[in-house]
């Protein structure tokens, strides 16, 4: 059963399908905004299949094992997050004390693997990308931790199941001033976690030509795409779970309502991505450690005094 949860539903397979569809949605909306037709719904799947058919090349300076291991580790870890998140949302009691910390760490693993993979390729452009990715990770983690702690403190428990239960009893955390602020902060952090504009600094196609994934090709690149796809589905669900009352599977309307929340969050992410230019890494750091952390602290203080 656990293996099924992990591999099929709500883990690897389901999360991949949902994530790639979400990615397509994002691409389609972006295309419509730019007066283009946009890709058909199966485009992201076709991309992955096409990558499977392509040859994998390894640059001469690259470390083979690390280079190939990084992408699939990223997929395995992100699928684990997706599976755990799905199971907890279906059955609140399955969580345990401290699981939110596990989520925080597991969500960082795909980034770590991007960094290690980029570093293992031995290419200077990928090295610059790796350096940027780790700096970006550092910058968004500070406000992200603060708002997570705010939610933990509000619910008075370190377990995600407990946070959902609290929201069932007291209404979602989002429906308060501090909740709104915290949600905004977390949403921007998710944008950076996904590496979307304005935070696509590590990949920066136009200047680094892909940065961390510069040297990746074929199935290895496909695995990184899959991992990003899974995160595209997982991170919004994580936001909904922590701040917006979780997904209530119980009655029929619950699922519809959950899908609405999900689409709204994706729409916000797409909106941010289409209305902002890419930042420089030092600007991003200053933004996250300055303005956004300040906002997070304000949210934290507001929640401490109960607003």
């Amino acid at each position: 059963m656990l293996v099924f949860n992990y591999l099929v539903f709500p883990g690897l397979l389901f999360a991949t399908v949902a994530g790639l569809l979400t990615w397509w949605f994002d691409r389609k909306v972006t295309a419509r905004v730019q007066y283009r037709v946009g890709p058909p719904w199966y485009q992201c799947f076709a991309d992955v299949v096409k990558l499977l058919g392509k040859e994998v090349v390894l640059p001469e300076n690259a470390r083979r094992t690390g280079f190939l291991l990084a992408p699939i580790t990223a997929v395995a870890a992100s699928a684990l997050v997706a599976a755990m998140l799905g199971v907890y949302n279906m059955n609140y009691g399955t969580g345990f004390v401290g699981d939110i910390i596990v989520f925080w760490y597991l969500l960082a693993i795909p980034s770590i693997m991007l960094i290690l993979g980029g570093a293992a390729s031995g290419n200077p452009l990928a090295s610059v990308g790796s350096a940027r990715e780790i700096k970006l990770l550092l910058s968004y983690e500070l406000p992200f931790i603060i708002v997570l702690t705010m939610a933990i403190l509000k619910a008075g428990t370190l377990s995600l199941g407990g946070i959902i239960e609290y929201q069932v009893g007291h209404g979602p955390i989002l429906y308060s001033l501090s909740g709104v602020l915290g949600f905004i902060v977390a949403l921007i952090c998710v944008q950076a976690k996904l590496g979307l504009v304005p935070f696509d600094i590590p990949e920066a196609e136009t200047e680094l030509g892909g940065g961390v994934i510069y040297d990746y090709s074929g199935a290895a690149l496909g695995a990184f795409k899959l991992s990003k796809g899974i995160l595209f589905y997982t991170l919004p669900i994580f936001l909904i779970t922590v701040f917006w009352g979780g997904i209530k599977i119980g009655d029929g309307w619950g699922i519809l309502w959950a899908v609405l929340k999900y689409v709204l969050i994706i729409a916000l992410i797409t909106l941010i991505r289409n209305t902002n230019p890419r930042l420089r890494i030092d600007q991003a750091m200053r933004f996250f450690w300055g303005k956004l952390t300040l906002l997070a602290i304000i949210a934290f203080i507001l929640s401490a005094i109960g607003i």
């Binding site: 640059p59 001469e60 300076n61 190939l68 760490y105 200077p124 780790i134 931790i145 030092d282």
Partner: protein, 614 residues
């Protein structure tokens, strides 16, 4: 039990003398040290598996106050004894190869063994006076061992002074504390003390003891000796003392003073927690910008202490267990990291990150074990660092201090960043032209290193085992009982071992994916730099520049510049006062004339005899 205890302490002490006096024949010192260390480990294990005990060796009553020389094996101290034995063996085995052919090895091994004896004595004595003596002996040997660094003589000597200065200062405080306790409470038996930390005297006494434990373990602001020592001391010693045995001693004292010698109030707890949180953050920020591998690791040795201090400071059962667990884990992965740094130093003749790179190809075993240790120290699940940090995080919340939780979690992210830099600059990237030919270190070094790395995985994946076997008994079963609930091992879908299996399944799926994409036979192609043909040196990006952005952020820029000048180091202030008052006075007294010294000695002797007789 008495004979076992005597053997436990006498065996390494005598073996140390043997190392010192036996003729300098090949391998004899190594052999003696190895046998003695193994014997200590065996005896420690026997003592540990026995029941708690209390043995009175002798008693006397100077000045009317009864002094009992008791050796008390509490579960906590016995666990510490066991791990001292373990790290003793590891340290000696690693030194065989690392110290081969270095001058002064007879002294080196003697000091190492005496350190074992002194540490065990400190851990087992119930009498505070004996405790202080053993504690100071271990500092003395530490000083001597730091000075065994023959590769950079001058730095080793400077580091030795600094070590001795800071630890000596804190131990003076400890001794003063013991004297005050003796006069105020009429006993110096640890077991019979339970001093409330109310009123200025209680708080002062606690602070004196806390200073000693913080300096030994290396918490801010008494940490500066560790980074200094890292520059000069032999790497084997860095792994042996500051990273493992000194941590055991410091944390042992901290646990004792936080749980039974003092009855700690909430205010003191908060102070300890603040020291822990500040240590985590400041040390890791400093580690982030280091350019020398050994110094960088030393700052992490400091930063990790912060987690232990923070966990123990919460005073909750889960916090104390988490702190102790972190201490053990830290010794494991820090040993791997220091051993790796030692191998890199031996092979590449430098630990300057700027001059290293691309070593993974030549030192694959060192590389793999260091990556595991680096991920473990950053607390990536399911490795051991995660298990203990996870418990410490919970304790922060249980103690009602969410700010500490934020500091600790951010510290983890920064640790990760700092180790990404290490892995990249030493092992990945490209090999610089000036680097000599490098090959893998000898199996005598890589095998223990790999074994420790596997332990790092094992203690994470099967974290429940060390917690139940060593730690829960160590703090008392009743106290620890409250932890079982909050551990939640074996919850659905996440227990460390289950998650590991799932990740492995995920990797298997990934491998199938790769098979579909024929990724296992990649074609080697020449590197592509956007179409440019570049000379090799132009394509190398050293990892030292990774965090230039952070160094140049407003506010941090000034702080880093100041710390570079040493403005934040406590000995910077202390030394200036010290120089003004004490040194000049001492200079005046120490004329170097033998007759003056002799007359002082005789005066002292007369005073002692007078006090004892009258």
């Amino acid at each position: 039990m008495e004979s076992q205890l005597t053997q436990l302490i006498l065996a390494p002490a005598i073996a140390g003398f043997l190392c010192l006096i036996l003729p300098r024949v090949k391998v004899i010192k190594e052999l003696i040290a190895g046998i003695a260390a193994a014997l200590v480990l065996y005896l420690s294990a026997r003592v540990w598996s026995a029941d708690p005990f209390s043995v009175r060796f002798f008693d006397f009553s100077p000045a009317g106050i009864p002094v009992n020389v008791d050796f008390v094996g509490t579960p906590l101290s016995l666990m510490m004894v066991l791990f001292v034995g373990l790290f003793g063996v590891l340290g000696v085995v690693y030194s065989w190869r690392y110290r081969r052919g270095e001058p002064g090895n007879h002294l080196y091994y003697a000091y190492m063994l005496w350190t074992l004896a002194a540490s065990d004595l400190a851990l087992l004595s119930d009498n505070l006076l004996f405790f202080v003596i053993a504690w100071e002996l271990s500092t003395l040997f530490l000083y001597a061992l730091v000075n065994c660094g023959h590769r950079n003589r001058v730095q080793a000597a400077t580091a030795g002074y600094r070590t001795f200065g800071i630890l000596g200062f804190s131990e003076a405080a400890l001794l003063l504390g013991v004297i005050i306790i003796w006069t105020q409470y009429g006993t110096i038996s640890m077991a019979s003390l339970n001093i409330p930390t109310v009123g200025w005297l209680g708080v002062l006494l606690y602070l004196m003891f806390f200073a000693a434990s913080a300096a030994k373990a290396g918490a801010i602001p008494l940490h500066t000796w560790i980074p200094s020592a890292a520059e000069g001391a032999p790497t084997s010693i860095m792994a042996y003392l500051p990273a493992s045995i000194d941590k055991l001693l410091g944390i042992y004292l901290l646990v004792r003073i936080s749980t039974d010698i003092f009855a700690v109030t909430a205010g003191i707890r908060l102070m300890v927690m603040i020291v822990g949180a500040v240590t985590i953050l400041v040390a890791v920020m400093l580690a982030l910008v280091q350019h020398n591998l050994k110094k960088l690791l030393a700052f992490h040795a400091v930063s990790q202490v912060g987690y232990m201090v923070l966990g123990i400071g919460t005073g909750t059962a889960i916090g104390i267990i988490g702190g102790l667990f972190h201490m053990i884990n830290n010794a494991l992965y820090k040993a791997v990291l220091f051993y790796g740094a030692g191998s890199v130093e031996t092979q590449a003749k430098t630990t300057d990150l700027e001059k290293l790179g691309g070593l993974a190809k030549f030192m694959p075993l060192t590389f793999v074990s260091m990556v595991i240790a680096a991920l473990a120290i950053s607390g990536v699940p399911p490795l051991n660092g995660f298990a203990s940090k996870w418990m410490i995080y919970q304790s922060c919340l249980e103690a009602g201090r969410p700010i500490m939780l934020i500091a600790a979690m951010l510290g983890s992210a920064l640790t990760l960043a700092s180790f990404i830099k290490v892995i990249y600059s030493v092992f990945l990237g490209q090999k610089p032209a000036g680097l000599p030919a490098v090959r893998e270190a000898s199996p005598a070094i890589t095998l223990p290193q790999l074994a420790l790395a596997i332990l790092c995985i094992g203690f994470g994946v099967f974290a429940a085992w060390p917690v139940r076997t060593f730690l829960m008994p160590a703090i008392g079963k009743e106290f620890a009982a409250s932890v079982v609930g909050s551990l939640g091992w074996g919850g659905t879908l996440w227990s460390p071992s289950l998650a590991t299996i799932l990740i492995i399944i995920g990797l298997a799926v990934g491998i199938i994916f790769y098979l579909l994409g024929r990724a296992f036979k990649p074609r080697r192609v020449s590197a592509y730099y956007g179409g440019e043909v570049l000379p090799k040196e132009d394509t190398r990006i050293p990892g030292t520049g990774f965090y230039g952005t952070i160094e140049n952020l407003p506010l941090l820029k000034t702080a880093y510049a100041d710390s570079e000048k040493g403005v934040w180091d406590p000995d910077y202030f202390v030394a200036s006062i010290f120089n003004g008052i004490f040194v000049k006075g001492l200079k005046y007294m120490h004329t170097g004339v033998l007759s003056t010294y002799l007359s002082w000695s005789i005066i002292g002797l007369v005073v002692i005899i007078f006090v004892l007789i009258v």
